[in-house]
């Protein structure tokens, strides 16, 4: 049998080290390339803009460093709104899913309604919530915080309840039969079978709702009464024509998104790993 020498390309394709290296290096080099184009104003030529509307990365960095105290305060408000809304919304969503799993005939129908809420544009919700929370407090800051949290909450309820419901009901085949052969009570079935089965689905829901919670926090800040938060700063600075500052806040918003997603992935790996060891 003649053994032909494989081409360099073929050998690279089969080498696992080269593959992992390229998985890391290719996207990074692509990002660096874009940044270089941005800094050298090639991007400005392509999009036909000036350095004011699309400021250079170095300028954005400088603005973030110079104004870090103000940016931190605004970022904190947005994070509080996103996290509190996410947590409350997810808890309510999970409770709805539990309720629906216990009374499946009525629950499934209720979930179709919750799913329909998913399709309601956030923009429509935000002003309604601002109207509803007029009497919550005399302090406009607290008032608008509550309104913003409500918007995030509603958006998170839908994805959590639908995913958790699937986790509570789509059991592995024969597990329910096994439980009934043990003469397990409904409570035991729920605690030992349904609840653990739903946990991976809960994380699927979080993967969807973490980015959405930040987006809806940012958007609801546009309509809120009290001027605070990353989203509002983006808008206020655009109105004033200070595009570089607005860009700095956009970068901050992206960083918040990355941060929260990173925290989620870390929690997920810890929780799911300890489950696997058991």
């Amino acid at each position: 049998m003649i053994k032909r020498r494989k081409s360099l390309w073929q050998r690279l394709k089969e080498n696992s080290v080269a593959q992992t290296l390229s998985t890391i290096l290719l996207p990074i080099s692509f990002g660096v390339l874009i940044l270089v184009f941005w800094q050298t104003q090639v991007l400005h030529k392509i999009f036909n803009t000036d350095t004011n509307t699309l400021p250079l990365p170095s300028r954005i960095c400088r603005i973030i460093i110079d104004n870090h105290s103000a940016i931190l305060v605004n970022a904190l408000y947005t994070i509080i709104v996103a996290v509190v809304g996410l947590v409350i919304g997810s808890i309510i969503g999970y409770l709805i899913a539990v309720f629906a799993a216990l009374f499946q005939k009525w629950g499934a129908g209720g979930l179709t309604i919750v799913g329909a809420f998913n399709a309601i544009p956030i923009v429509a919700l935000a002003p309604v919530m601002t109207n509803w929370t007029k009497d919550v407090s005399n302090d406009p800051n607290i008032r608008s915080m509550v309104a913003k949290i409500l918007v995030v909450m509603i958006v998170c309820i839908a994805s959590m309840s639908i995913n958790a419901f699937r986790g509570l009901t789509e059991l592995k085949p024969f597990t329910l039969d096994l439980m009934s052969s043990y003469a397990a009570s409904k409570k035991t079935v729920f605690l030992k079978l349904r609840l653990p089965n739903s946990i991976p689905y809960v994380f699927t829901a979080f993967r969807v709702s973490v980015p959405i919670s930040i987006i809806s926090a940012v958007v609801s800040e546009y309509f809120a009464e009290y001027i605070v938060g990353v989203g509002r700063e983006i808008r206020e600075n655009i109105v004033l024509g200070q595009y570089p500052t607005a860009w700095a806040y956009i970068v901050v918003a992206c960083l918040i998104g990355l941060l929260m997603y990173g925290v989620l992935v870390a929690i997920e790996s810890i929780v799911l790993k300890s489950r696997r060891v058991k």
Binding site: F30, T53, G110, I113, P121, P127, I250, C254, L258
Partner: protein, 279 residues
């Protein structure tokens, strides 16, 4: 007769209807409380019938147009741009998914960025894109397209990657060319996933389009929404738009479901087997 009644009682539609009725009742209870305690109840929670009446009320509210006319004229503007952006985004997303399947290098470059772009609040970037394009129409289209392309791309790619190995082996045994593999096997089997992406993207494109409207006074649903909130016209215009956009959001999602039923080869086969089973 009894059988029919039982069938209705068993059906899922009844359950959904009961839930809707429950929500309406709760809404009305709160509306009555608000009406009794607040000075301007229509700003907080009007009765459902008031919203419906305002929709059919011929009284002009702005520019000599009635509520309905205002909503529909502006909805036309908003939805046409959302639709254009949606189509462009779908096309880009689908092509990107195919490219990622075709070339490992493209996949490696694009995969982390597809994940990252989800974390960027694109809606927050709306004002910047408006400043870059200087035109509200095209910025609406661009944002709707960006929001559409990544759910479509990620879902389609998941569909392309979900094809079982046995099918590849079958294709290999036919000595099928690459284009045949794509046209006859990969693309048809990714269609359900593709439509899942479209169902996620459609309400998002509409939301984006409405949000961009609020930034500039050029017309469109969002623009009317903010004007009505500032009491430049009847506050019922605001409620009409809220209800209308919610309905449109839900409809856009089910519209994708209907299109899937017509287009998707898998659904067509399902229907055929059902017919045969019935006959």
């Amino acid at each position: 007769m009894m059988k029919k009644l039982n069938k209705i009682r068993q059906s899922k539609i009844l359950v959904t209807l009961v839930w809707i009725a429950g929500i309406i009742v709760i809404w009305e209870i709160f509306a009555f409380i608000v009406e009794a305690t607040k000075r301007t109840p229509e700003n907080i929670l009007p009765h459902i019938w008031q919203i419906i009446f305002s929709f059919f009320d011929p009284k002009p509210v702005a520019n000599g147009m009635s509520c309905t006319a205002v909503v529909f004229v502006n909805a036309g503007q908003t939805l046409s741009r959302a639709g254009q952006g949606f189509l462009i985004g779908t096309l880009i997303g689908f092509v990107l998914a195919i490219l990622m399947k075709l070339s490992r290098i493209v996949e490696k470059i694009a995969a982390p960025y597809l994940m990252l772009i989800q974390l960027i609040p694109i809606l927050g970037m709306a004002p910047i894109i408006l400043a870059m394009t200087h035109d509200i129409g095209s910025s609406r289209i661009i944002i709707a397209a960006i929001l559409t392309f990544y759910p479509v791309a990620t879902n389609t790619l998941a569909g392309l990657n979900s094809v079982e190995k046995a099918k590849y082996e079958l294709m290999y045994s036919y000595s099928a060319s690459k284009s045949t593999i794509y046209l006859k096997m990969l693309i048809p089997s990714c269609i359900p996933y593709f439509f899942t992406g479209l169902k996620i993207a459609a309400p998002m494109a509409i939301t984006a389009s409405i949000l961009v409207d609020t930034l500039q006074g050029d017309g469109g649903l969002g623009c009317m929404l903010s004007q009505s909130l500032k009491h430049a016209m009847s506050i019922y215009v605001f409620w009409d738009i809220v209800v209308f956009s919610a309905v449109i959001g839900v409809l856009s999602c089910s519209l994708m479901g209907w299109i899937e039923n017509i287009v998707s080869p898998i659904k067509r086969i399902e229907r055929k087997t059902k017919k045969k089973g019935a006959a």
